[in-house]
């Protein structure tokens, strides 16, 4: 993932012609991944730490021009196969806010259930299939499964449960079809959801065990004081309603992201980077959410978090994001269980609405962080202009800052081990660069000695 655009983003000129950048993006495309890292060390000092994303651009902001709101929902899902629900829902809420659509309370609850499904699927995927092998010393979950088959099987069961929730609500796990402006094209019957209840009940102890297990994984010793940003709601763990808040005083309506942040293009990446207007970088995702919204966690998740004793580590050490993901996995499963147990079908699964011209903007929480959409609609209710700011483009600045901050303690290690640590750092963010994992080709370029 993914290109994004902004209204009038600035351009950062790459560091000057003094040879600091040794590797150009066009050369790195020959590696089979979609991103890479450029790190330049001079005299023991990190002078450049760049995450290069060269996922081929697909111009989604242009693909939606001239389309109706419901068509936009289908199109933007395709930005990401791992978190299509968040893309659909940021768009839905933006349009409903502009059109003044009143939503059936049961639909509002079903939407939370849809988010639960996506978070369960995505977090179980990341914890078990992508990230845990870093801590346990395997190249992948495939090799990990050879030694820990039941552990991986448990992760797959949890992941499947998330996918089944999305399937019941939306017809299929990837790019579900039922999300529409106003609600759902069809709401699930009570029996279809109740069929999931035994598995949801069984998943709660498995999610508790998952959290207890990831809390035993030892993160590298790297702490800092990050600026954290997330959606927060006073009464519920925020997925799609609330305000955009930070730990240093930002407090915005979900459509007002653009008043505090901007996007800019950097020479080394196909993703535009987001920064605050003062140029600061900030961190999104599970660590930010758990820190900023711990008081609205499901009681079981709050209890689990307390049992780990790692709230402070989650805030300060990005490697502990796997624990934050474990907390949210438990939260989403427990909330899904509660919703399914109390489910009643909505009286109006899909509210009627009339398009109107204007600006539609909203932010919701994708599994990996805040996702902002902004659309301009014309007199016919068709899209005239779009801006989509994915979480990874917002986290890119924080990733690069952390690479630079982490590097001094790492560059003395053997090259292969340093590579692994840097890669693990980036993976800790659960970046959604398509090919979201194991994509890193690290070149530590020591200017004062022969490059490795």
């Amino acid at each position: 993932m993914h290109e994004s655009t902004g209204a009038g983003p600035g351009l950062v000129v790459p560091p000057g012609p003094d040879g600091e950048i040794r590797y150009e993006v066009s050369e790195l495309t020959r590696v089979e991944g979609e991103g890479s890292l450029n790190l330049v060390v001079r005299g023991g000092e990190v002078v450049t730490a760049q995450l290069a994303i060269f996922e081929a651009p697909r111009y989604f902001e242009q693909l939606v021009v001239g389309r109706t709101p419901d068509e936009v929902i289908d199109i933007v899902a395709r930005i990401c196969g791992i978190c299509p629900v968040a893309y659909q829902m940021s768009a839905v809420h933006a349009f409903e806010d502009l059109f003044g659509v009143a939503i059936d309370p049961a639909v509002r609850t079903l939407r939370r259930l849809l988010y639960c499904g996506e978070w369960i699927e995505s977090h179980a995927l990341h914890i078990y299939l992508l990230h845990a092998s870093d801590f346990l010393g395997y190249p992948s979950a495939i090799e990990m499964a050879a030694d820990h088959r039941e552990l991986v099987a448990q992760g797959l069961r949890l992941k499947r449960l998330g996918n089944r929730l999305i399937e019941v609500l939306g017809g299929r796990a990837i790019h579900p079809v039922s999300v529409r402006v106003g609600g759902f094209s069809r709401a699930p019957g009570r029996r279809a959801l109740e069929a999931l209840l035994p598995d949801l009940e069984a998943a709660i102890p498995e999610a508790q065990a998952t959290l207890d297990w990831v809390a035993t994984l030892v993160p590298p010793d790297y702490v800092r004081e990050p600026q954290l940003l997330a959606l927060r709601h006073p009464e519920e763990y925020a997925y799609n309603h609330g305000r955009i808040v930070s730990n240093d005083g930002i407090d915005l309506a979900p459509g007002e992201w653009g008043t505090a942040f901007r996007e800019e293009q950097v020479a080394w990446s196909h993703a535009l980077q987001a920064r605050s207007h003062s140029g600061g970088v900030y961190l999104l995702g599970p660590s930010a959410r758990v820190t900023l919204s711990s008081e609205t966690l499901h009681p079981l998740a709050a209890e689990g978090l307390a049992r780990t004793g790692q709230a402070e580590m989650i805030r300060r050490n990005v490697f502990s994001s796997i624990v934050a993901r474990g907390v949210e996995l438990l939260h989403a499963i427990a909330e899904a269980r509660d919703i399914v147990a109390d489910y009643r079908e909505p009286e109006v699964p899909r509210a009627s609405w009339t398009p109107r011209p204007g600006i539609a903007a909203w932010a919701t929480e994708a599994p990996r962080g805040l996702l902002f959409h902004r659309y301009e609609l014309d007199e016919q209710g068709l899209i005239r202009h779009a801006q989509i700011v994915p979480p990874t483009s917002q986290n890119q600045g924080a990733i690069e800052r952390d690479l630079a901050g982490f590097a001094p303690s790492i560059i003395s290690l053997p090259h292969e081990e340093a590579t692994h640590r840097f890669e693990q750092l980036i993976r800790s963010y659960d970046p959604c660069i398509s090919c979201a994992t194991h994509f890193l080709d690290l070149r530590v370029d020591r200017e004062d000695e022969a490059a490795p």
């Binding site: 242009q62 068509e71 196969g81 797959l156 790019h175």
Partner: protein, 286 residues
Amino acid sequence: MPAQESRAHAGRQRTRADRPARPRVGVAKLTSCDGCQLTLLDLEDHLLDIVDAFEIVEFPEATSNRSSGPYDVLLVEGSVSTPDQAEWIGELRRRAGLLVTIGACATAGGIQALRNWGNEPAWRASVYPRPDLLETLPTSTAVSDHVAVDAELRGCPIDPHQLLELLAALRTGRRPQLPDESVCLACKRRGTVCVVVAEGIPCLGPVTQTGCGAICPAYGRGCYACFGPHEQANVESLAGWFRQHGVDDASAARLFAGFTAYAPPFRSEAESATRTAHRQEDPSHA
């Protein structure tokens, strides 16, 4: 980590030498959303058996182990949309025994193929302040436009059951059984009331290949052709039906200008939609 688990598993461990030769499978990605390769990981109930039956030697989304081939089977996701990819797919073809394209991007160019009507330079300039920093092709095209393809799985995304059928067929050396009938037949089989007849909802089911299980009508909306045109799709006739039933030309054209817009039978119907939508955005565009 439960201690008993390692012991329980010890009996299942086999050394590499015990194993029959397993097909070497690679997964590669071009321009796409990752959803189709994720479908492999979404075969949760079968995944551990699949990695027993196949040797996954290249799958960057899932493993740090890398292999530049040769592959007995290579699954390719995504469309060809950059000069590097156009070169790279030829290289991949040489390294693959069987090359299977997976998903609408790889088999038809994907939603990003809407750029193929001549909009790409303007789009690039509208998204990026420095368009010169990107190397892209003006088109997004199917893999089969560049190299020979041995089999394809349609869909946006592919269907997990079809993927499983493909893998089973590969393992046993038979042809995969993939239906080439229309979504309409799948709807009948599923017992779904026709959304066109009952509710007058425009639906591409009559011209679209099934494989998804006719999800959309079952969820109360029209098919939007994730799986592309079926073999005998009479697109012109359906477009005429839309017009007769009050669907304006622009809306009908936008229906075809979807995730398989550049598949030939849909292409001409989709064309007017992309031209209409972007005429205002790009005054230079004829």
